[in-house]
Point group: C2
Chain length 423, copies 2
């Protein structure tokens, strides 16, 4: 059975995915028509979308909707994409984080706060693109294996679009992520295994159910393009330019590769200057296969069995690991990993300084930035963007031990003053 064996009948059909022209294999550049396929049968490497952009101007983007669809001319979606019911993700805040910058001793930090998306993580971006492509390919069910944020995004997007969903999660997932997936009333299944088991299961199911679009499996080439919008927005929000440094959390590694691709496409279209941007990767030490490979000087990523509170990053066999290593090395970045204790400290530091409550993945990013600064790998004099990709409300267990009310008091001013040390 091949990757394409059971996808909706595509032979001879052409699909309107806007500027997307064909699929190209990442290793040897073999080209093939647009279809719901994700692996090249020529060289067995992942397939990626190639485009025929034509001219795209800043004014066209600025006149577009306040969502990722303002960038539809750079995404594999039909030009009418925003007319179909979708969650309208994107255009989240880019916050100038002077308090955090001061605390870390650096010149300038910006927080890209993707907790403002509809289901409060960056996954709404990629799912919206996957749904648009899946609709064009004729799929009927939106599906995914997930560590949680993707489950929330798929279940919500399917509900909004009036589609059925099949969402597979490890049974050990955080309560908030389970409930926020279940509430949309699709088919949520808890799987007795870790994420890598669930992911393998999804690949098998994608081959057997011809009308199921597993967003991160059989429509992955389209889905993953959604992450480019993080780079697009950062560049537009900075006043049409790249930052000098950006720190990106690594799960499968897809996001980091697409952030890089997004900046490159903007430069290629002369929307921004092609200035250098150093790309840094962040992992939790309990699941740090890419960080280990980077530090060991390897090109290949050795799979690990995850054991970290940063469950949204707990992918032991990251599909895009080798590409991440390549990009980080060629841009002059670095990859580092942090302990669970440092993750919690990272969450608290960001909350305390900027009033932004990130999930564990955000804690990983902040703590890794701190560690890279201390090691002299991040330049404190360069403008730095941190990607905060998910919400603290989804990973409350991670912080609950260290925080809470200062005191429980009787309803009297004396009791309050005493609790605050004011009398």
């Amino acid at each position: 059975m091949t990757a394409a064996a059971h996808s909706p009948a595509t032979t001879g059909k052409t699909f309107d995915l806007g500027p997307a022209a064909e699929l190209v294999s990442k290793e040897e550049g073999h080209r093939q028509p647009l279809a719901p396929e994700f692996v090249s049968l020529e060289d067995f490497s992942p397939l990626e979308v190639a485009y025929d952009f034509g001219r795209v101007r800043r004014e066209d983007i600025e006149a577009g909707p306040r969502s990722i669809w303002r960038y539809k001319h750079l995404l594999p979606v039909p030009s009418t994409v925003e007319q179909h019911p979708n969650t309208e993700p994107g255009c989240t805040r880019l916050v100038r984080a002077d308090n955090l910058a001061k605390a870390l001793g650096v010149k300038q930090i910006w927080i890209k706060d993707d907790t403002g998306n509809p289901t409060h993580s960056f996954k709404d971006r990629v799912v919206a693109v996957a749904l648009a492509a899946a609709r064009e390919f004729g799929f009927k069910v939106l599906a995914c294996p997930s560590t949680g944020n993707l489950a929330n995004a798929v279940a919500a997007a399917a509900a909004r679009a009036g589609w059925d969903s099949v969402v597979l999660v490890p049974k050990t997932l955080e309560r908030a992520k389970i409930l926020m997936s279940a509430v949309y009333d699709g088919s949520l299944l808890a799987v007795d295994g870790n994420y890598d088991d669930v992911n393998r299961l999804a690949t098998e199911l994608a081959g057997e159910h011809e009308d199921w679009a597993f967003v991160n499996v059989n429509v992955r080439p389209y889905y993953s393009e959604g992450s480019k919008t993080l780079a697009f927005e950062v560049a537009e929000q900075l006043g049409w330019r790249k930052p000098e440094q950006i720190v990106v959390p690594i799960a499968s590694g897809s996001q980091l590769t697409k952030v890089y691709k997004g900046f490159n496409e903007f430069a290629q279209l002369d929307l921004i200057e092609d200035s250098p941007v150093r790309i840094f990767g962040a992992q939790a030490s309990g699941c740090s296969p890419v960080s280990s490979a980077f530090k060991g000087g390897h090109d290949v990523v050795q799979p690990v069995r995850p054991d970290t509170i940063a469950r949204s990053l707990a992918i032991g066999a990251p599909a895009d690991g080798p590409y991440v290593l390549d990009i980080v090395r060629k841009t002059g970045g670095a990859i580092e990993d942090v302990t669970d204790e440092e993750v919690v400290e990272g969450i608290r530091l960001l909350a305390r300084t900027e009033g932004i409550f990130a999930e564990t993945a955000g804690g990983v990013t902040v703590a890794t930035a701190k560690k890279l600064l201390e090691a002299g790998k991040l330049d404190p004099d360069a403008e730095t963007v941190l990607l905060i990709t998910g919400d603290g409300l989804k990973t409350l267990d991670a912080v609950q031990d260290g925080i809470g009310p200062k005191a429980t008091v009787a309803p009297s001013t004396e009791a309050v003053d005493e609790a605050l040390g004011l009398r």
Copy 2:
């Protein structure tokens, strides 16, 4: 001790709060200079901000930032407000809810989805305005009594601004709201009492601590104006016009009165046509003093002891109750209340149809809209806006009994197919 006795020295000082001109008492219209005061000493009614707007054009608003500050010329804030660190709330989605409309049998519903705000409730709007006014008045500490959402918003806004915060909550508050208040590292105190006890305590403390701005007590006239931005955004997002009907949840009642005021100000400034809008109120039956007064034909609201899962609406002595009754009656609206079971059904209905996960207050709004439709009070042929003011992740306990995975399965395709009834 009067309301103004211990506020920062204001005698003879003038404050730059943009278009705000003076304070006026709601009952008899007594006027007094802008100051951190909230009750008229002439007639003991609440003070409200009066303006000298000058000319405000649609173009001025459209050219403004993508936050509530695009409406700064209609708020009691300095013209430089966006230059101070703040959470930049507002400009949340207005979602065309065709699936929900179909499920309820009505022509057109729009969801104003305020879960997209920085701390995921509408409270970020009012707190941002309160902080701006408090800064101008010379306060040093941002404080509040809260049922949860306000606690999150105050603690986050203070952290972002570099201010200390004192946040008082009932000790029985939901875990998510406690943790999300504590993480920003201000002074969070759990009070042994219900919200009305905590509120009384805050009023006493505001009189004793001259540099504490209790956002919803001593700077309440400014704070409450922030809710006007809900009406402003709805009108702008509809293409510069009012909806025909709007359903607003009632806690203190302030939000409903300010939504009404917001539409009126837009009409007064010729930004929109002064078409009729019928305003409806939503309460939980376990705390329905305003609904009871409405149904009983009373002008006075009899306080109750709250007992409902909709804790963010659990204010037994709602300060703006009489004004709510007046507005709802004169616009031709109605007020209804729903049981806790209906609240949960409302949350699930909205999630299932539109992919939006609301907190219990949102469930109250949706369920009340359904009940008002069934009773023939909401017109199914009129365009209706529902205000969804808070996030489902904050009230997980309310939904956890009814929802969860369809099944827990082994990591095999057979197990998945069997669980889904496909073999």
